[in-house]
Symmetry: C2
Subunit: 194 residues, 2 copies
């Protein structure tokens, strides 16, 4: 099992992925979330109030999508993504479940949890998955800075504190120096979606 997790890129620590879920009435959702792997166990922490939270409550399913598209991280964190971002796979019991059509890999999990509080802490049990495309991806500091800026942007949207805006702006140099057009577009999009 651990080898299989490695192959899907779910390493020890927190893996930042796009989590897809679906509501009981079939509406797909995407959000950037960390999949925690510690001592062979996979966990996820999801805050009450989010669509991801209520979807997991309803279906007890979620998929981790491994993607390198910074724009998708921004859009799924700060707004809704377009429907054509998803494709639907069939689960074992014949239901449709959304994954990111253009991901490098996805893994579907059953979420096991006991209580629902402010934070849903669920253990994840792999159900199935697909590796679509393995790649070589060296470090791009601008890509990494977009991820940090997105996290700050979600905090800013909740707390509206200027310190988060200033921190987001502090990444501008790195993004314009080290980024390609994708990273620059993603960064600009953050400000439009705040």
């Amino acid at each position: 099992m651990n080898l299989e997790l490695d192959r899907y890129g779910l390493w020890e620590g927190i893996n930042e992925v796009i989590v897809t879920t679906v509501s009981l009435d079939g509406k797909p959702n995407a959000a950037p979330i960390g999949i925690i792997r510690r001592e062979g166990k996979l966990m996820v922490r999801v805050y009450n109030g989010s669509q991801t939270y209520s979807n997991i409550m309803e279906t007890r399913l979620l998929a981790a999508n491994m993607v390198y598209d910074p724009v998708l991280f921004v859009r799924s964190a700060l707004s809704d993504v377009d429907d054509d971002v998803f494709k639907f796979i069939k689960t074992d019991n014949g239901e449709d479940f959304p994954v990111i059509a253009d991901c490098n890999a996805w893994m579907l999990f059953e979420a096991e949890f006991n209580s629902e509080n402010t934070v849903l802490v669920a253990e994840l049990h792999p159900v199935t998955g697909t590796i679509r495309q393995q790649e070589i991806r060296p470090v791009n500091r601008a890509f990494n800075a977009v991820i940090e800026a997105v996290i700050l942007a979600t905090r800013y949207k909740i707390f509206r504190k200027d310190k988060y805006l200033l921190q987001i702006e502090s990444y501008s140099n790195t993004i314009y120096k080290c980024g390609g057009s994708t990273e620059k577009n993603a960064y600009d999009l953050i400000f439009r979606l705040l």
Copy 2:
């Protein structure tokens, strides 16, 4: 050519890789350096005074090694790496050239430059390369933080300003929260090598 660069992970922007070089008397060297790709051209900037600089001056060759090992980034930035990190490949004219044995991919370049100043700015022309292992690697914020901390550590070694130390220390939370043992070991190693 651009598609081939994509396949090797050398995308638009700055790609942080381990650059390997060799001196005329055959001693290999490794250092983390950014490979810049802009408008289809590949460039590298290397500071005078480094071993990488004098090796490129002597041989006009360098290899970009795509790796995900944070410990290797730390060690090659702040000290010498062990000889068993390298393996030697044969260049077209039969010479031995070092690459990182355990890399995911390497690409050998001829460096074209006109003048040698404080900074060597060279255009890179691909000679040959090998893709050893493609993978799925989602974002790990701790891995990214180690890379940022390494950059600050190289500045601290030159300028000895406390502000760099404080910035390095500011990554501790992210590294211990999001990292696996590899990232934590790499981070701890930074302080031992300062």
